[in-house]
Point group: C2
Chain length 357, copies 2
């Protein structure tokens, strides 16, 4: 393996000093990039793009060609896991994702099993291998999966939802069935992330996009307990270097202390969390990743720079901050805004560190 | 004015002891009730129901005929305010609300003015008067309005949204325009709530449904500052009795201390907040209202009772808790579940208080 030319992300995740605050963006390869839209067109569909390793690797690298980002994240989708379980993933035009065979009856749930990544999700592992080769050690490559709970949301509901009625009816009415799904998911996600690490992922991220829709009393039981199980089962090293894990929880601000104690190396924060308060709440237990409001990228570049400085100041100059948005890049974000953000984060944080040193 | 036969709500909002924990439910007059659906049918449309005082008063009382609730809330809609400002409210079948003339250009925003409640929202004030007469002192009647920020969300975007792109583009790109809208809204909402108090509302509630979509840094500036202005401008007494105010903030768990210091008598909590932790964070500064996951009402009655007891135990037996959901009753909620909830809250909390006394 080549050495890593830019290891700022891995150092920041390990709460080690860096010359500037590293930055990458959730959904950095996405519809705001014309070259991404062209590539998806060429692939024929979003799913074809995800399932073709050479094209997925190309998408992974696209944002790096435009912006001096400090990490790449493999281009894929969290719903490839329920798809590999046989639930039938489909993206209809203009709609969100759908699973054609959601889990509603006990017999189907009892039969549910974890996929074998090497067989059922080989395309994702190959995309990681190809992306690693193409990156040639420029920046680290992040692998990812949905949290067991977030996957279960889609697996029971069959699609995204404002209030998840089928899922919640199972959670409150037949909790043992949901626990069975979550156990399978925890195994599936741990297996997949470990396979990604073997394939070349240098950090891994767990997306708990919907954990924040749970009540305080049920979040620990149905979401965090299973994320903790995944984190505990992960390989900790690859090529003699620690493979850090990031647990992102949308709407998880209420539970930050518990998230920081889950076994992750970093907590990913949405934009509603005050970064300064978060730092004080978790101390130096974990690094923090986030958390600019993605809507800032709809504003003129000068305002983007101001908001970026504001957030960097809120965290302060201690190590352990990875700059990111609090959610994915919007298709409406402007390229000028993203360029201004990446430039400002590096320049301003570099200046602050140089002054502090 | 008749004396109030049941003042448990007002006492709990004032953090005074009560024989049991009072309960009412956001959207307690709603589509889960067949008699509500029949009434809406009779009115011709949701808006006609809202705009006809006799029918709105009838809707207000419907849930009280079924369940021994401790409060009524006037049947209306927060978007009557932008409608009265001339933005054109419309409810299309199967869709959420729409404003036909959203605020997008500076000239229109400069011309925006607060409505005169006595002239432009007379139907809401008359509905309050009729509902007060019909209640005849059984339980207190709650008036309400949307928070200045929540109203602005709809006024700029024109409809509900997942990420509010038009609103957020204005917030980050032309903040002075949004501040101008918020100033008008604060005046409009304070005027309306004061008119409601004069018309007979015995408590008032401010719904900040979308404040929780703001970043930590912007929540104070764009939402809380204007809610505080409204709360500060409210009449504090009617008929020689304090008129308490409740500030409900969906997704506001991160900012509970600031909300408790805003001048409200009670903070309304969504279901993601741990009630015990919230109590410890705000002390006895304000009462707390909430916060059962509305999805619990999709479960069998026995489970509903368990969840209700769990929440009552989390708060403990100190005064200052008003039981409610963390959001409105779902159209899919069962009447049996609601009946079980109301019964259990009164019976269990009464037993606990009697034991503690």
């Amino acid at each position: 393996m080549k050495t890593l030319a830019n290891d700022a992300l891995l150092r920041a995740l390990a709460r080690q000093p860096t010359a500037y605050t590293p930055i990458w963006l959730m959904r950095q390869a996405g519809r705001y990039l014309p070259e991404y839209n062209a590539l998806r067109e060429r692939a024929g569909s979003f799913l074809a793009l995800v399932r073709t390793p050479a094209l997925a690797a190309e998408a992974t690298l696209q944002p790096l060609e435009r912006f001096p980002l400090d990490a790449a994240i493999v281009f894929s989708d969290i719903l490839t896991v329920p798809d590999a379980m046989g639930l039938g993933l489909r993206f209809a035009a203009g709609e969100g994702p759908r699973l054609e065979r959601p889990l509603r009856d006990e017999a189907t749930i009892r039969r549910l099993g974890a996929p074998d990544p090497a067989r059922d999700l080989r395309y994702m592992l190959e995309a990681i291998g190809e992306a690693r080769r193409a990156l040639a050690g420029r920046v680290p490559l992040i692998g990812f999966a949905g949290s067991p709970y977030t996957l279960a949301c889609y697996m029971v509901e069959g699609s995204g939802s404002e209030d998840w009625p089928a899922l919640k009816a199972m959670l409150y009415g037949r909790p043992e069935l949901l626990h069975r799904i979550l156990e399978v998911n925890a195994r599936a996600v741990a297996d997949l992330l470990n396979a990604q690490i073997e394939a070349g992922a240098q950090a891994v991220m767990l997306f708990d996009t919907w954990g924040g829709t749970l009540s305080a009393a049920r979040y620990e039981e149905f979401s965090l307990a299973y994320s903790r199980r995944v984190l505990g089962a992960l390989k900790k090293e690859s090529d003699g270097r620690r493979v850090p894990s990031i647990l992102f929880t949308r709407g998880g601000g209420n539970w930050l202390e518990a998230i920081a104690a889950s076994g992750c190396d970093a907590a990913g924060l949405d934009w509603t969390v005050d970064l300064d308060a978060a730092r004080r709440r978790v101390g130096h237990k974990v690094a923090l990743q986030g958390n600019l409001d993605p809507a800032v990228l709809l504003a003129p570049p000068q305002r983007v720079r101001e908001e970026a400085r504001h957030l960097l100041d809120a965290f302060g100059s201690a190590p352990g901050h990875v700059f990111n948005l609090g959610h994915g890049v919007s298709p409406r974000a402007s390229i000028e805004a993203v360029a201004a953000l990446v430039d400002e984060v590096r320049a301003y944080s570099g200046k602050v560190r140089a002054r502090a040193a």
